[in-house]
């Protein structure tokens, strides 16, 4: 014990006092406004969906670990809230009209297949919440995307409430002029009178949570802002430099939730700041481009796709070793 000071090991040498559990609890707190607003807008059914999703995520992690012959006590001691966050995000990203089994299946798939089979927290190749959402989208396409339910609070600005047939983005992408001009940007921001997923509808709640995370230094607010800005600007470019498209394209769909809470996952982002900038710019381009090309909401698909490029980015954008000076000699050595 006395020569603890002189022990040497590989990096990281300086450890922050913050644990995974503390970070994940902070993310849960940051998502609380979105959960509350989702319940206010869509009723108790929304809360039930979220609760089931979270329960399923935690239960599948426990069952997996029990099958792997871990004792119940050690599971409880090591439980970080990552599966709680995954379940929360999946619950927030389904519509209130979806049957109850959808988030249950999606969470179980996300935890068992995407996270635990790859080795647990911090070892997953792609973001579990995003993949769970895509699993639900592919598996239950009909119930996930049809019959969007309008929220309880009617539109503040527009006179008539929004149609329940399609979310604004679907209308916008498919050039349904009847849907698009009826929704003001303020309504999109507040989520009033806009049909959509439980957590994605009220952007203000999400932004409040994101600001909390940024102030608490859980996430670097710059990166998701780059993502949102690039996605918006690229949509404007693809729409023929029609700048009225900028706000609707970033305020509709799952872009805000995806950018601030899903894309910023530590495990599935590059290690360096330059790598992160590249990653989020590419993410914005892919999102806007695929949105235009497919006509559906693709934020989760874009994140999944770019997650797979993270190891590649990490390979090419590496930290400069401390004290490294790039001289002519090293260059000659490389060439020779």
């Amino acid at each position: 014990m006395e020569n603890k000071l002189y022990k040497y090991s590989s990096s990281p040498h300086v450890k922050a006092p913050r644990t995974t559990r503390q970070i994940m609890v902070r993310v849960c707190i940051a998502l609380a406004p979105a959960v509350i607003m989702g319940t206010v807008l869509f009723g108790l059914m929304a809360l039930l969906l979220i609760a089931l999703s979270v329960l399923s995520a935690i239960a599948s992690e426990f069952i997996y670990l029990l099958i792997a012959k871990k004792s119940f006590k050690s599971i409880l001691r090591q439980f970080d809230f990552t599966s709680f966050v995954t379940g929360l995000l999946i619950g927030l990203s389904v519509g209130v009209q979806t049957p109850l089994y959808v988030p249950v299946f999606a969470s179980a798939f996300a935890i068992i297949v995407v996270k635990m089979l790859f080795g647990g927290t911090g070892k997953n190749l792609v973001n579990p919440a995003v993949t769970g959402r895509i699993f639900a989208f592919i598996s239950f396409t009909a119930v996930m995307t049809s019959e969007w339910v309008a929220p309880n609070i009617a539109s503040l600005v527009g006179a008539s409430s929004v149609s329940t047939g399609a979310t604004v983005l679907t209308g916008m992408l498919n050039k349904e002029a009847s849907v698009m001009p009826m929704v003001s940007n303020l309504d999109l921001l507040l989520g009033t009178g806009v049909a959509g997923c439980i957590g994605e509808t009220c952007k203000v709640a999400l932004l409040v949570g994101a600001i909390y995370l940024a102030i608490d230094k859980v996430i670097n607010i710059l990166y998701p802002l780059i993502y949102v800005a690039v996605a918006g600007l690229f949509s404007v470019m693809l729409g023929g430099f029609d700048f009225s498209l900028f706000l609707p394209s970033i305020l509709s769909g799952g872009l805000i939730l995806g950018a601030f809470f899903m894309a910023t996952d530590y495990t599935t982002t590059p290690n360096t700041s330059l790598g992160n900038v590249i990653y989020f710019i590419l993410l914005g381009l892919v999102t806007a481009g695929l949105r235009k090309a497919t006509g559906i909401e693709v934020v989760s698909f874009a994140i999944l796709l770019m997650n797979l490029f993270v190891p590649l980015i990490d390979k090419f954008v590496t930290h400069k070793p401390f004290g490294f000076i790039k001289t002519k000699k090293t260059k000659e050595k490389k060439n020779g």
Binding site: F105, F109, V113, F135, I138, S139, F140, T141
Partner: protein
């Protein structure tokens, strides 16, 4: 290397199962297992081609020059694939249509060429036919089982009979094909390693018992 019926039969179906152990012929495995019936049809077609090509290649194994053996094998296989295609088109048009492009692709199926190269060109006619039969059975079993699982989860049906109304579309998509295949390989190797471990332990126990007996006798 001596052949025995047990060795060839077990080899084809279990110990070197072409789909789950050798991971050969993955293209039809991934694409055609959306339904159990497809798997069965594909398996039957491949089994027929495998038996016939093994038979012919084994007969001609001393005639075919070593340098051009691969083109010769492909030519023989292509002959039988054409026979299967024409026969299916005439007598079972629904299966012919559901297999589609993958039927002519049997020509380049690694399983058939692999067996021709590693077994039929080195062994007698009888063994080659047996090997073709059991390799075909192993392939058919794997494809049919995978097809059944994917059809049941993806469409709620089994051999086109509606069983439940609940569907998980993921399993009928191509991503689900990779996932199901991976799970099958994992479960298969888990079970086979468990069995071989047990066998090893038994063999170990057998070698141990006489020693203990001796010890008792000494006492």
């Amino acid at each position: 290397m001596k052949n025995s019926f047990k060795k060839v039969a077990l080899g084809g179906v279990i110990t070197s199962n072409p789909t789950l152990k050798l991971v050969l012929g993955t293209c039809p495995t991934l694409a055609l297992t959306t339904a159990a019936m497809n798997g069965l049809g594909m398996g039957a077609a491949v089994t027929f081609v495998l038996i016939c090509s093994n038979l012919l290649i084994s007969l001609l194994r001393k005639v075919i020059p070593n340098q051009v053996r691969i083109p010769a094998f492909v030519l023989i296989i292509a002959t039988f694939v054409t026979i299967v295609r024409l026969a299916l088109d005439k007598f079972l048009p629904p299966i012919y249509e559901s297999l589609g492009l993958y039927l002519p692709l049997i020509v380049v199926n690694c399983i058939i060429l692999g067996r021709a190269e590693s077994f039929a060109s080195k062994n007698g006619v009888g063994w080659s036919i047996l090997d073709g039969l059991f390799m075909g059975i192993g392939f058919t079993l794997a494809l049919t089982l995978m097809g059944a699982v994917r059809e049941f989860l993806g469409y709620g049906t089994l051999f086109n009979v509606q069983i439940m109304n609940f569907q998980i579309g993921f399993f009928s998509s191509s991503a689900g094909a990779f996932f199901t295949y991976a799970v099958f390989i994992a479960v298969f190797s888990l079970v086979s390693s468990l069995i071989s471990n047990k066998r090893k332990r038994k063999a170990f126990a057998k070698t141990q018992t006489p020693v203990q007996d001796c010890a008792k006798e000494v006492e």
